[in-house]
């Protein structure tokens, strides 16, 4: 017997969607109503997520779902459904809670925007689409919601449509993710072909269950890799990560939503959801598809961390940081640590939302300045933002014991160390952890320490409506740090479908010291390199980044994002432009010429028939018509209208008849 919430799980995305639609029907003036509806919708979704969370605690590995027939064609029936399992429940909680904080924050951040109501409608829509992805029990339903997430991101990144850069970024995000989605769709079709169903769990017949998986056999690797293409696009993995930093053109709450709760999480979630396809036929937990996932993750994580160390836009640093952390999650999934990856995703959702909202608060306080080189000294001017940002920073860097990022990173390091194929990912990820701590330290020093610089002199703390969500997220980050402690790894085991045991000895492990050493190394490196920045004179901008003076070429290489955008511009985009130009030329001269040729044939024939018509046919018709007209004229002359003329004619006729009669007789 399923609990009530299982059959009504669809309400969780439906309510924010309804909120979004009803807000769209308002005019721009009803700001308070719009925000209230969006937030109430989110609170209801959060409450229902808690309701959905409770039954999953009842038994390890709880899984319940509800499937229904969408439509039938021929003998096939297309079925959709939703599923409630620990993965879904944990994601639902994280998404609804983080979204709620972001919604509340947006009231303050977007207070001056004239399209306030539209913004809230889109936010609600975004959240609804993502919730749909999470609850879907059908790859098709997941794909539909996945595309809705893409649409929502397009609308929100390009929210300030009057800025050409925002419009371009929105298009870039949409098209780049679409490239990945093409792969996803092909994988979906192939999976349907191979297994005959797109339902994940269907009482033993779903595509993630043994019977269908066995039917897939060898094609599973290709299907998994195609589906992974979608995840690469959505989760900003190399080589499709280029849209993510540009997505910073959207309002900061949107960045927080994209980077923490919704869009990028979808890719990692997708891989975790269809994990059985990835791990089918694993020998020693290694399959070709999972190996690809690991290496893509490693490359992404390291590259993004390196780039993040050189950026000067506060939001771009965080964006590359997200890309890097997503790489980390992919590695974790790839080496078999699904629970660790998802735990990091959940923890990351909280602290990255915190960091983004914190950066939003900083940007708001510094009057829309985003360059960290023009900030400084905000520690005293914005104390609440400073403290919450510091919590987020420490969680992201992985400072042990009190911050959730540390435990999840430790889990991931642990998982990678047991990967049988190679130890390289393990050490490369360690390097990533050091870099993360270093660039976050750099950012903290630039923004919050030292003397105020040009943009931060008149900074002010943000209003309570913006700081309260920060405080709430900060508390959650610390709370998660306690909840996720390895001494009682209930979340890990909850996700794995096992029962947790309390064991204090697991708190102290070699990996703890390793990660502590890594974090200290990273923060130490950051402090060592950037302490000069903190001591700088108040009215001067920093002339050169310390790294820039030491390694100018390397710095420029990284600052320009390894020239990947330029590389794409010169390669793929150039090719497609050339192809487009060629097609245009073909269209213009070859196909157009053909069509025009046929057209002139028709014209020629037209001229010929016109001549025949005018010379031959018209002349004949005119002739006969002229004859008829002359006859008519002759006849009409007799019809004078004079009644006595007619009468006279009758009389003459009668007389003539009489004479004829007399003569014949």
């Amino acid at each position: 017997m399923n609990p009530w919430i299982v059959t009504n799980l669809w309400l969780i995305p439906a309510i924010p969607l309804a909120a979004s639609l009803s807000i769209l029907s308002f005019n721009n003036a009803r700001r308070k109503t719009a925000a209230a509806i969006a937030i109430v919708g989110q609170i209801v979704a959060l409450t229902m997520s808690i309701l959905a969370f409770l039954p999953t605690l009842s038994a390890p590995g709880f899984r319940a779902g509800h499937n229904f027939i969408w439509f039938t064609f021929g003998e096939q029936a297309l079925r959709l459904g939703w599923v409630l399992d620990p993965l879904t429940a944990a994601m639902l909680l994280m998404i609804t809670f983080v979204s709620l904080c972001i919604f509340v924050f947006s009231i303050g951040y977007m207070a001056a925007d004239k399209n306030f109501t539209r913004f809230f409608a889109y936010l609600s829509f975004f959240s609804a689409a993502m919730l749909g992805v999470v609850i879907a029990n059908s790859l098709l339903l997941l794909f539909v919601c996945w595309e809705l997430v893409g649409l929502a991101s397009y609308l929100l990144i390009g929210f300030w449509i009057h800025k050409p850069s925002a419009a371009a970024a929105a298009k870039k995000a949409f098209i780049t993710t679409r490239i990945g989605d093409l792969g996803f769709f092909l994988g979906l079709v192939w999976l349907y072909h191979g297994s005959g169903t797109l339902l994940f769990y269907d009482g033993g017949r779903g595509c993630l269950e043994n019977a269908a998986l066995l039917a897939l056999g060898g094609s599973a690797t290709s299907i998994a890799l195609l589906i992974f293409c979608g995840a690469v696009g959505k989760s900003g993995q190399f080589p499709l990560h280029v849209w993510l930093p540009d997505a910073m053109e959207g309002p900061t709450p949107v960045s927080a939503l994209i980077h923490a709760a919704t869009m990028v999480a979808a890719g990692v979630f997708l891989v975790a959801r269809v994990y059985p396809i990835f791990s089918l036929g694993a020998i020693n937990d290694v399959t070709p598809s999972l190996t690809v996932v690991v290496w893509i993750g490693v490359v992404t994580g390291l590259m993004a961390a390196l780039i993040a160390a050189t950026q000067s836009d506060i939001k771009r640093i965080l964006a590359y940081s997200t890309v890097s952390q997503l790489g980390l999650m992919m590695v974790s999934l790839g080496v078999g640590g699904v629970a660790a990856g998802i735990m990091h995703l959940l923890a990351h959702g909280f602290f990255k939302a915190l960091l983004f909202l914190g950066s939003g608060s900083v940007i708001h306080g510094c009057h829309d300045e985003q360059d960290i080189r023009k900030m400084g000294g905000l520690r005293r001017l914005m104390p609440v933002t400073f403290i919450t940002y510091a919590i987020g920073m420490m969680a992201l860097s992985g400072v042990p014991l009190f911050f959730c990022g540390a435990w999840t990173k430790e889990e991931i390091l642990h998982a990678t160390s047991h990967w049988p194929k190679s130890q390289a990912p393990h050490y490369l990820i360690m390097l990533g952890v050091v870099l993360t701590a270093a660039y976050m330290t750099r950012q903290m020093i630039y923004v919050f320490f030292g003397n105020p610089r040009a943009a931060s002199e008149h900074a002010h703390e943000s209003p309570p409506v913006m700081t309260r969500p920060l405080v709430a997220l900060g508390f959650c980050t610390i709370f998660l740090g306690v909840v996720l402690t390895p001494a009682w790894p209930w979340l890990h085991d909850y996700l794995n479908g096992e029962t947790a045991r309390f064991d204090l000895t697991r708190l102290i492990q070699p990996m703890l010291f390793v990660s502590l050493a890594l974090v200290i190394a990273g923060i130490g490196l950051g402090v060592l390199m950037y302490r000069r920045v903190a001591l700088q004179d108040r009215h001067r901008n920093v002339e050169l980044d310390p790294l820039e003076s030491a390694q100018p070429f390397l710095f420029r290489f990284l600052e320009n994002k390894m020239w990947l955008d330029e590389l794409y511009e010169e390669s793929f985009i150039l090719w497609s432009r050339t192809a487009a130009r060629l097609s245009d030329w073909m269209d213009h001269y070859v196909w157009d010429g053909l069509v025009r040729g046929f057209g002139s044939l028709g014209q020629l024939f037209g001229i010929f028939t016109k001549g025949v018509d005018e010379r031959a046919i018209n002349a004949g018709v005119d002739e006969s018509v002229g004859g008829a007209r002359g006859l008519g004229r002759l006849m009409s002359a007799a019809h004078s209208g004079q009644i006595q003329t007619y009468l006279g004619a009758v009389a003459i006729g009668m007389v003539a008849l009489l004479i004829l009669y007399a003569w014949l007789a």
Binding site: H639, G641, I643, Q644, A651
Partner: protein, 104 residues
């Protein structure tokens, strides 16, 4: 002078010619109508004369035809007169020379 068939036929022919002349020469629609009535009378006279001087018979066939013709002529005269009145109301004239709208 004894009445003979020829005498009646001559009178009838004269009557017919007078009527025809009237119908053809007068310009006034009512005179034309009168002319037509006179021609009808000539025809009636013929019927009666041929009956009277034809082979002897008990049935008054010629008279009956003449009486029917007179009745129809009365109806026809009524129709004709009302047409003339309608035409007069419309054109303010009864001169048939001016009523030539039906010309081809």
């Amino acid at each position: 002078m004894t009445p003979t068939l020829q005498l009646f036929l001559i009178a009838s022919a004269a009557l017919f010619c007078i009527g025809l002349l009237a119908a053809l020469s007068r310009r006034h629609a009512i005179f034309i109508l009168i002319g037509i009535e006179i021609m009808l009378t000539a025809a009636n006279l013929n019927f009666v004369a041929f009956w009277r001087f034809g082979p002897p018979t008990q049935q008054p066939t010629g008279v009956m035809v003449a009486i029917f013709a007179i009745a129809i002529a009365a109806a026809e005269a009524a129709v004709g007169l009302s047409l003339i009145i309608a035409v007069y109301r419309h054109y303010r004239t009864t001169n048939v020379d001016e009523l030539d709208q039906l010309k081809g």
